[in-house]
């Protein structure tokens, strides 16, 4: 479903800007991939490239998602990847304080004009399974970090995307919240979704194994600071 070949990225077109190299890998439906690496290794950058927020520059490798070659997409087409093809759980918990928790979860569907009754029910079910259904009508500022992380993941999953990208999903979470978040990701992969998780949390692999067993193995890629000028 996802094929990355010789991908690299420069944040500036100038020759002195460092180039981050990601190499090649592929991911199919029902598979999960853990991106490891220290700060600055390029984990978030890779996710931004895959979800279309950053443009893949010409001659910087290729990315194919389903039948689409991402580097040939216009900005509007890349915007169109989210939220139905790619679900994105950004680093930390970004929830809009102007909206209720339920409205935040429904946000991607609402923006696409597809917040129908089925989607609403799915959002409610997700909140239920994340154990935050009772907080649905509250504003996010009243939520704990763990609850906000669960709401953020529910929002990424509400559109039933083909590919889930999660950036440091367990950062600053307690054990209970971490387990709930990873468990839901594993369920999603077991149902045929594909997930890429960027994390430097050393416990995440063991956590994944404990909640999914062998039904959805978590592959791993180590990103190192292979930058060149």
């Amino acid at each position: 479903m996802l094929t990355v070949t010789g991908l690299s990225h420069r944040y500036s077109a100038t020759a002195v800007a460092p180039e981050i190299r990601f190499g090649s890998f592929s991911l199919d439906s029902g598979q999960a991939l853990l991106l490891r690496g220290g700060s600055g290794a390029g984990k978030s950058t890779l996710l931004h490239l895959l979800c279309g927020v950053l443009q893949i520059q010409p001659a910087s490798g290729s990315v194919t998602l389903g039948e689409q070659s991402l580097q040939t997409l216009t900005r509007a087409e890349r915007d169109g990847l989210r939220p139905y093809t790619v679900g994105w759980m950004p680093q930390r918990q970004f929830l809009m304080t102007s909206l209720t928790v339920l409205e935040n979860v429904l946000l991607p569907a609402s923006l696409a004009g597809r917040a129908d009754e089925t989607t609403r029910q799915r959002a409610t079910d997700l909140l239920q399974s994340f154990a935050i259904a009772d907080l649905a009508q509250l504003r996010p500022q009243t939520l704990s970090v763990g609850q906000a992380a669960r709401a953020s993941l529910a929002r990424a999953l509400v559109t039933q995307p083909k590919l889930l990208l999660a950036d440091e999903p367990t950062a600053a979470l307690d054990a209970v919240s971490s387990r709930l978040v990873i468990e839901q990701m594993a369920r999603y992969v077991e149902r045929g979704g594909a997930a890429i998780i960027a994390s430097h949390d050393p416990a995440i692999h063991a956590l994944w194994a404990s909640v999914s067993g062998n039904s959805a193995p978590l592959a791993e890629i180590e990103l190192t600071e292979t930058r060149s000028k």
Partner: protein, 393 residues
């Protein structure tokens, strides 16, 4: 979704929204009110002189004669004899020659001794009572009746002197006036006038002036010519007579207004500055709102919102702000017009239709400037670095 977000964005910070609305509204309202009320004042001044082609008074300043006879804003240069007025009336170029005698006042309103022609000449009609039929009968203008609370049958005495502050002048206690009629409002000086037969003035002032010897006097004669030729030729004829001076209100008013053209220009420039200040406050409010919401806007982009959606949000917020500010500004302008009509210049005719025109023109300019003010906000909004915003918070 866009409407919901705009509503929530504004509702989350009601005080900032209210402050931005008030700043915009005050700027717009001040600008509209200044320009509109300036126009109202000019029309009011023109309306007072309507139908009066020439003012005939004693030799002196022509402008002073016009101010005293037409606007009741100055003291007369002196008196003219009634014989001269009769001679003018006999001139074939003269349609009307109405003598008026002024010199006393009551409650700040001038008492005008004149003939039966005076009230119809100003378009006055009776609201109650009758016209004056005998000396010391008084017909009150609508504004005088409202302000002094005098009713039909009431008596009052005039005080020597003209206009406000003259109450300290000698009161003519021996010659009380009796209210026999009250006029409907006309929007002209007659609203602030007490009209009485000219004989009343002679009676009250016997012993005060030389007219007691039988050579009756009036202060002015208001002349309406039969046509433009009369307006052109009569002044020269009148000025040739000893002791008489002709003043053409249209010319004197125009000369006065021309010398104050710079004031009108300053007023318009000031109004323009107020509108620009209002739009600057709108721009400031929008930029502040944008800075506060950059992470939210980045998140919206990450969740699939197009750049058009973001532009719609900012434009929508700007539109709501300018719309609410416009409604408030309209209310403030209406309040200013009402206050002006009620307290500052009672009797002034304010044309609401013209006010709407000024309002729409002002709001149109404001909307245009608001759109211009939104451009830099939109540029900044559309260039938000989503990746940077969502990695740094």
């Amino acid at each position: 979704m866009t409407a919901l977000l705009i509503r929530r964005f504004l509702a989350d910070r009601p005080w900032q929204f209210a402050l931005a609305v008030m700043l915009c509204a005050l700027g717009m309202a001040s600008a509209i009110a200044i320009v509109w009320l300036q126009s109202v004042l000019e029309q009011h001044a023109r309306r007072q002189a309507q139908g009066i082609d020439i003012v005939v008074g004693a030799k002196g300043s022509a402008l002073q004669n016009v101010l005293a006879a037409v606007y009741y804003l100055d003291v007369p240069n002196g008196n003219i004899t009634l014989k001269e007025v009769d001679a003018l009336r006999a001139n074939p170029q003269v349609a009307k020659a109405i003598p008026i005698g002024i010199g006393d006042s009551v409650g700040g309103a001038r008492i005008v001794g004149t003939t039966d022609e005076f009230i119809p000449f100003y378009g006055g009609t009776l609201a109650s009572g009758t016209f004056a039929t005998a000396p010391m009968d008084a017909v009150l203008g609508a504004g005088v009746a409202r302000r002094t609370k005098l009713k039909l049958g009431d008596s009052f005495v005039g005080a020597h002197g003209l206009g406000h502050g003259s109450e300290s002048g000698d009161a003519h206690d021996s010659y009380p006036y009796r209210v026999v009629g009250i006029l409907n409002p006309t929007g002209r000086v007659i609203d602030e006038t007490v009209v009485t037969p000219v004989e009343s003035v002679w009676l009250v002032h016997e012993g005060h002036s030389a007219s007691a010897n039988g050579d009756r006097e009036a202060t002015f004669a208001l002349i309406q010519a039969k046509g433009p030729i009369g307006v052109a030729t009569l002044p020269r004829l009148i000025n040739a007579r000893p002791g008489l001076q002709a003043a053409v209100p249209a010319l004197e008013s125009a000369r006065l207004l021309t010398s104050f053209n710079w004031v009108a220009l300053v007023v318009k420039v000031f109004a323009g500055i107020l509108v620009i200040a209002a739009m600057a406050s709108l721009l400031g409010a929008l930029l502040q709102a944008l800075a506060r919401r950059e992470p939210d806007l980045a998140l919206l982009r990450a969740m699939g919102a197009t750049r058009g959606t973001l532009a719609g949000l900012m434009l929508g917020e700007s539109l709501v702000l300018i719309t609410v500010a416009s409604v408030v500004a309209g209310g403030l302008v209406a309040l200013a017009a009402w206050s002006f009509q009620t307290f500052a210049l009672p009797g002034v005719v304010i044309d609401a239709g013209e006010g709407f025109l000024y309002g729409f023109a002002g709001l149109g300019i404001a909307a245009l400037l608001a759109a211009l003010a939104t451009i830099p906000v939109l540029r900044r909004c559309l260039s938000i670095d989503v990746a940077a915003q969502l990695s740094s918070r």
